[in-house]
Assembly symmetry: C2
Homo-oligomer: 305 residues x 2
């Protein structure tokens, strides 16, 4: 239930890192792109094939080292439906390698529409008497601006099966404060959103003490991260902003509970593009990613007690 | 620029209705589903084919009557990548019939990730030296919780080409007030979001006096709709919640400016499922939709002076 499976995988790898799979063509070694273009041309299908081949190599190299991957929908949707097929293939391949998959779609809507997103990313889709898996991720990032009507349809799927959501609370970007830091009575908008996460989560608690309703809290705001860890004892955190966006290992220290659990930390570019930093042939991009993931694991583990 | 094209199409049809294309299998006549299943089986591809055939009939019947359609991404994503292909085909077909297309994806992210969504839905995607259209809509609904970092990447595409966005301001659902009605100093969260829309839009003004940054404001909150129309003179409104969700024609009256412009009103189920209300054979579902769209046009026109 809830994030119990994720927590198991964290324990199994002794690693709280999530590898973000946000592949841009610029990140992908030429030998992969050329092979994909040979097969499908310099088209959306060719690009999508390159994305999937790149991801496959990363997943092979990272499985056993990182517990989870987080493909970001935008990088796939940019390549139209062939890109979305590459997203599906990526999720399925990561799952087949035993990884936990967080679909980073930041979806939001209400009622029966939100139920469709819940089915798409976390549940199953019926076509008459048959059921199919549309994308089949383990968790989905969502935006809570619409309130309970946007979250309730996810909770029913989270309760039926072993799934979770991460609600945007305090995002890692410079302008996140424009709305999120504003004060509502004696708390900020992001604290209010965090409180809602605790309320929503109370209906879907896991054995770990964390509910199925997690929160996105940026590594770039370490004070707020520490504050929220204290205020939201049942809310598991997904922490973006480490590495390329400026968050350091010491900045994420406040995300963890007294057992060093309660959060996963995402790194996308630093892992995907590790080979571009020098010292690696592009053919060894996956080995480079693995080396960076190990370095990051050890760096963060030093801060989670 | 901005919503000038949409406004032209509103004038051309004398209609402010947007037909929501949120097709569920339950809404689709059996003769369409059976033909699709014969071709592709009772599979995600079969369902996706049924969705597209259903939409095609609606678009044929509605073009010339309604200025715009609004396919809602969730209903397509539920059928995986074949569903997303049906979304693409629907957008392209509606455009080929001269309709304005609002992709209802409520997307949100930051920086280069948001730029990918902007390219996916409103812009173009490069694969080496070639450019492709991923989805090719005219406007996209977005969620502004992340602030300017989530909107700026869209603005640059809106300025380059004739595109627009609708930011969630006051949504139509019962629980929208949980966050949106909270007070930040002397205004509500939704008023603050509205003010941000005016600020963002100032960079991308159209000839009509409306900017490329519109707002989603629900028909179910007529007082707030009237208030926002006054506070946000350059912000074009997309008004959901009419019909099935309980908003009546008199409730949307406050959305319009003194020229009867400044807003479009969405109806999904009442148009799509008009044939289910009786008096129609299922073969005539498209005619039923057209009749309902005409009825709705006349009903709303009576309130927009």
């Amino acid at each position: 239930m809830a994030f119990d499976t994720l927590i198991q995988k964290i324990k199994g790898t002794n690693n709280v890192t999530v590898a973000g799979l946000d592949p841009k063509l610029d990140y992908i070694p030429a030998f992969i792109k050329n092979a994909a273009y040979e097969q499908y041309g310099k088209t959306l299908m060719g690009a999508a094939e390159a994305l999937f081949r790149f991801n496959k190599g990363l997943i092979d190299a990272l499985s056993g080292i990182v517990p989870a991957v987080k493909p970001q929908c935008a990088y796939y949707e940019m390549y139209g439906w062939p890109g979305v097929k590459a997203f599906y293939d990526t999720v399925a391949y990561a799952k087949s390698k035993g990884m936990y998959v967080i679909a980073d779609g930041k979806r939001n809507d209400i009622g029966s529409t939100m139920e469709c997103y819940a089915r798409a990313f976390l549940g199953e889709t019926a076509v008459e008497d048959e059921t199919f898996t549309a994308f089949g991720a383990d968790a989905l990032t969502v935006n809570g601006y619409l309130g309970t009507d946007g979250i309730a349809p996810l909770l029913s799927i989270c309760k039926q099966s072993d799934k979770g959501i991460f609600v945007l609370v305090k995002t890692s970007n410079p302008s996140s404060g424009e709305l999120q830091d504003q004060h509502i009575a004696d708390e900020t908008v992001f604290e209010k959103m965090g409180t809602l996460c605790e309320q929503w989560g109370a209906q879907a608690m896991g054995a770990s003490g964390y509910s199925a309703v997690g929160a996105v809290v940026g590594a770039t705001y370490p004070e707020q991260l520490k504050l929220l860890r204290q205020k939201l004892p049942h809310t598991f955190f997904l922490v973006p902003g480490y590495g390329a966006q400026g968050g350091a290992a010491k900045d994420v220290a406040g995300a963890f509970d007294q057992n060093g659990m309660g959060a996963v930390v995402n790194s996308s570019r630093a892992i995907m593009c590790a080979y571009q930093k020098g010292g690696y042939d592009e053919k060894d991009y996956a080995q480079a990613a693995r080396d960076e993931a190990i370095r990051m694991r050890d760096e963060i583990n030093a801060y989670r007690g």
